[in-house]
Amino acid sequence: MIFFYFYILFQIKQQKSTMKRRFTNHLKVFYFILFLIPISLISQKTVTGIVTDKNTKEPLIGVYVVVKDTLVGGITDFDGSYKITVPKGYNTLKFTFVGYQPIEKEINSNSVINIEMSEGQLLDEVVVIGYGTVKRKDVTGSLKSVSAKDFNKGAVTAPQQLLAGKIPGVSITTDGSPGGGSAIRIRGESSLSATNDPLIVVDGIPLDNTGINGGRNNLNFINPADIETMTVLKDASATAIYGNRASAGVILITTKKGKLSDGLKVAYGAKFSVGKITKEVDVLKADEFRDLVNSRFEEGAKQRDWMGDASTDWQKEIYQNAYGQDHNLSISGGFGSIPFRASMGYTNNNGVLKTDKFNRLSGSINLTPGFINNTLQLKLGLKVSKSKNHFADKGAIGSAVGFDPTQSIHSDNEKFGGYFAWLDENGSIIGLSPANPLALLDQKEDNSNLTRYALNASIDYRFPFLTALRANLNLGLDNSNSNGTVFIDTTAAFAYNEDTGGGVDNDYKQSLKNKLLEFYLNYKEKLFGNDFDIMMGYSWQHFYQNSESHRSDIRKTEGNVSSSFDAAELYMLSLFGRVNYDINYFAFLTATLRRDYTSRFAPKNRAGLFPALGIAFKIIDNKNKYFNNLKLRLGWGVTGQQDIGGYYLYQGLYQKSTNTARYQFGDEFITTFRPNGYDSKIKWETTKTYNVGLDISIIQNRLSGSIEAYKKDTKDLLNYEVQVPVGSNLTNIVATNIGSMTTKGLEFSINSTPVNTQNFSWDFSFNTSLNRNEITKLNSDESSLGEHVGGISGGVGNTIQIHTVGYEPKSFFVYEQKYDSAGKLIPGEFVDRNGDGQVNELDKYRRETSSPRIILGITNNLTYKKFSLSFAGRAHLGNEVYNNVETDIGFLKRIDNLGVLNNIHRAAIDNNIEEQDQATYSDAYVQDASFFKLDHITLGYNFGKLIGKSFRIYTTVQNAFVITKYKGIDPEVFGGIDNNLYPRPRTFVFGLNVDF
């Protein structure tokens, strides 16, 4: 039989190795497991029975039942029963179960053997970690799980939002648009231009970070209502097992599964929401604007003639009440003997920006059957989602803020679809004049459709002859397809073009195909009397994408039509292993090692080796009524980063030009080919993390807390835009490894249940974190100013932030504003900080305030009889925001800039700013943006059983209030530059849950 297997293997190897076949090649591991199974079927006598808990008399599920000294064995099912066929000549059964005393029992002539097992220790809570689980008390690394009951409530459309404010060191900044994305940062940023997004693993499948064209949020395919737990792995001793992509942390998402023991459950949930904007940018009202124009320009001046007769509050006009609804239906239980859960969800949300719409239909099925006495367990999951978007042109936000309020929305000019446009005396559009915000919203049709399906199959086989050994095969397929169109009619003034007739007729499509194969073996056994757990595995991932786009004007004018096609792929291979060893129940040791290969780098630099070590000292462990737990954790590890965008970074390539970038030779236009720049030596960015943590839990676990300190040192920073010595490469900027960075932080969290009586209970949790990043090395020497980053509006190529050695990345780089004795700002006067008699670039200084120094999160859950109240809030302290809205439109000269009238920010008058460059680099516009936000407050009422069904209703106010000194519309600005961000609405939700 073994021979036969190798014969098959050999046959497969002979086949030509095409891309598709490579994947099937991996299936041979699977075949091998299938092949092992029949061994256990050679048998002669059948024994059945039920295993129960000695104290509770409840059936025990998942007890290993093995015929001693054989390969034969099984696992008890949901009612504690097992059935086993005993080979001739064997007469002892061995029952083992985690947390219980193992039992051996002679069979003799019995064909029914019922067993009662007694607890050895309390059953421990188990936490999901990479490639396995671990008992919470044995955790050595920094990780934290949040389960469904603790998730954020309200109009949540994307999984990321569930976690905001829940975990110290994890900051989540959510976009205000419907179905919009969220930026997640775990313990600040550890890379300058490679991704700082954490790796997200859904049901064992690590996702691709690449967003799809026409999508809003990479996690939109998961219905938040389907999520069971989300676990965040923060330090390297926890994340290193995902070495290759783990530098920015890892989030493990586990979706809900069905349980046979729960019977058939049907649940329905509905939410209705309405969102409103909370604040408008403080620009002049129409009358104020009129007065200002009249006072600035004398009688008869053309500027006065430009004014219209209307009074339009453009910001009011572009926003709307955003209505939304969300429905969920799930069925779970057993389908025959197969546990399953199926769900469907429908979300329909409008944005507060008119015409912005998000629509999603999602479905998921999870099947978790067990075979062969449950020694073979299958987990099958399918998630399908279909979403439709209409994208509003976000340019309307900035345009509305600065548009002349004396103009009306509509005019009788049919040529431009009846929308007001700035025209000269010949009726032509004035060059560079701003677009009518409502025209931008109404005359642009920007739609996309996305479908995504993610299939995961995990096969877990426990060897009956060696119950300590488990094999796991994990297969995943994640396919996304999107297509979209952008259509702007020829009547739109903002897309007008005299030559072509104007308008836009674009379309695009893209597909992403990601495949995963992972296999690991796990062996758990006593070694020298202590628990020993070793895992070894292999992972293969293939990421493939192709896209196509077409652009043209409406008439498809020659020379204005272009198409592009693009395809690229990435392979990643890994070998990994982990050892857990519990030393006399006092210290728990975890060591992991992972070797990763990426096709992004040249063969010499492909491999990265990522070790990690963690140890937990269980100083107090359930020994005392008051002190339940005291644990010290120490961790060290190295993780890698290679996700920097491009796919073929190390190769010298020739790139073709489009037809619009050809060059004339004689009377012919020659398509050009360019040798691209590259760094053949590009390699892994690595982050070394040190972590110390202390967990305490007292008074029967009613009060628990953790305190943690960490340090992360990143070296060989992957930088997408590094200026290399001029002349050394084929271009000035290449992606390469440059610089180092250090991040240090402290985290503290506390969970408590101050009151817990029959009628009233109160859960309270609080967390806070401090974080500081510092660049410790860049290529440029100490004397150089640094790398300018953080592009702003107002002048092409202007930047407000800088990376400098010895400072936080993205420090604001600004002039110190001068003030008069009354404390009033003196326009255009800055402090000559270096005292050389002139104010220039060298007088700018760095403010390390673009990210918050302290983050706080607080959650309260109260229940009183059938009422429940929960609220959660967050605070960011010590951060500042560059108010680019004020600097971009807060200057008086803007009123008649470029031959049209423009509204200005009130700050222009308050500060008497005449010219834009009096404001652009002034530190007066780097403004305190510390805030406290009450993210949501929810009041619920549980009716209990009514007409045989259980009802719960609730109402939520999301984004209830903000306390801040910041003057812009919202102090929570990712990246620290406030430039007409999409307003986060205050949303009122009404919800209903019914369990059938």
Partner: protein, 724 residues
Amino acid sequence: MKNIISKILLLGLLFTTANSCFKDLDTVPLDEDILTSEVFFAKDGAYRSVLAKIYAGLATTGQEGPAGQGDLGGIDEGFSSYLRQYWYQQELTTDEAVVGWADATIKDFHDMDWTPADVFINAFYNRVFYQIGICNEFLRQTSDEALDRRGTSEALRKEIKEYQYEARFMRALSYWHALDEFRNVPFITEQDAVGAFNPKRIEAKDLFKYIESELLDIEDKIAPVRTNEYARADQGAVWMLLAKLYLNAKQYIGEDKYTECLTYSKKIINGGYTLEPEFAHLFLADNDHNDEVIFPIAFDGLNTQTWGGTTFIIRAGLGGNLNPLEGSGVKNGWQGTRTTRQIVEKFGEIGGVIIDFHQRTSYPQVYIPGSYMGDTISTDFALTDSDKDKIYKGYQYFKEDNSSFVIAPYPSLNPAYGDSDGDGKLEFGGDPLVIEKAGFYYIEFNNNDKTYKIEKRDWTATGSALSEDVPFVYDEDLNMLKASANLNEGELYFKANNSEQITLSDGNADGILEENGNHLTIAQSGPVEIFLDLRKEDFIYKIASTSYDRRGIFGTNGQSLDINDISDFNQGYAVLKFKNITSTGEKGSNSEFPDTDFPLFRLADAYLMASEAILRGASGGTKADAVNYFNKIRSRAYQSNLANLDENTLNLQEILDERAREFMWEAQRRTDLIRFGQFTTDKYLWQWKGGVKEGQAVENYRRVFPIPAKDINNNPNLVQNEGY
């Protein structure tokens, strides 16, 4: 035993599977537009398409026109254009240009206080070495060894040889720019491989020698003068670059090379090039076919698109009341660049225009379509009502006898008014009105009582400014009346039918003619052309001197001559020299991206270099030769010999000023001012030189730009230029 075997098998399997997958990691691009070099060079036309990229490096900014897949990083792609950045450094630093934008440090150029951290200087420096880098790469990829390896055919090798000479010329050109702007720079050739290393520094004198030796080596190998395809370099381009190198040798290496400059200038002069008769045609959308340009940077509205290049030169200089589409053939202006008073004054009377047409105001109008128009009905011909009294007035020329027309609310023959019964009153749908005798007629229509008036009026220019009356004749191309006259100081007005009954003049000199009003006062004398445009109200006119410098092509409408605020586009005259219209007045192929090529080298420069070299003591030419060369340029500019100089009047200052006039906005000015010692010193000041309105001297070290701080930091072999 069995279970141990199983375990071993399983582990073994695990690692064999892993190993078989390692070849997965050897990925190559799946996109057919991106190829590895060996795949690429096996394609037909591969070498030619890389050569095209070398030339395109001066024009485009990346592989997707107008922007996308940029060649350089760290700067907005539109700003990364070779020509645009060269232009910034050569023009914005001088009297020829200011820019009003707020982009980063762009104003530092004119203020002359740039620092080594300047993003634009860094961008140009990077662009120059980008160009050198791809020339080197081409030479590496075409080494004998590489060609042997690919089994390249003999025929193709011969072609590749030609390309190599051109690549070396292009590299020498960029090294010359590096020498001129930065002096002591990194030095790399095809001998250096691509990768992380610090290129060594070369000093100006060695770089000069290198450029010279490269050019002398290829001089007789590259395509002979005027034999290569358009836009590709030939012997003429090599000579020209040598002449320019020698002319400025004193600045670069402290040695005079004027004799060599003269030698090479004369080779060009005798090379078969001819001056384009119409100066203005050198800068238009169809300038790719003329005999004066030696080496252009080619642009095309459809095929070679960029936000730099001539797109930038033309559009950045438009805005305000300068009507871009009609005048310059682009959709709109970017309201950035203008010129200073000092430049305008070098031209004397601007463009010879004494009074220009006033911008017309739109009034209510009725149309006068009729048989005289032919098949197409023109909307240009109409009667207007300027005072809203419902009386519509206008003039119309009828070329033939018995022309007919109707009076219509739309430019259409129907619906319309005519007069069937000849009672002097119009009726709706009446027969067309008939003009029996050809000529220039006044037409008036009173919509209150539907009466009308048609009167033949022949116009004459008269008044004390004229020694005798001059009759106007109708110019059918211009659709207006035209007369040539010699003006004296005095009064000027126009009369109809040789009678003082109906006159037109412009007492307030605002460019709009008033009926029977005060007369216009003329303050200067000389030959002029007078144009009357009486088609519609306002009745407007133009008086232009016929003895003027045709190179002064300024936009003045709505612009002030002085600049008090550089940010205000309306301050300072616009320069309308480059246009996206053809010599026959057609628009270019794309109103976004001009077709206009940039003449990097042209014959006129060789004449002025020869003249200057002689004045500076070159042997091989006499002062008479210098005057002769100089006057070639002068007489084209004036279309006459009236302004020519002689041996007594020609001097070096005249040559510098002549270069300002001839090469305005052609990216020559900074180098010229430095050669004449007027760039940094107080010998010559212009508005806002050194950051103050009246102008001030700046530090002498600013004759050379700093090595950008980024590269100094990156490459320890480099040394910062003195002063920075």
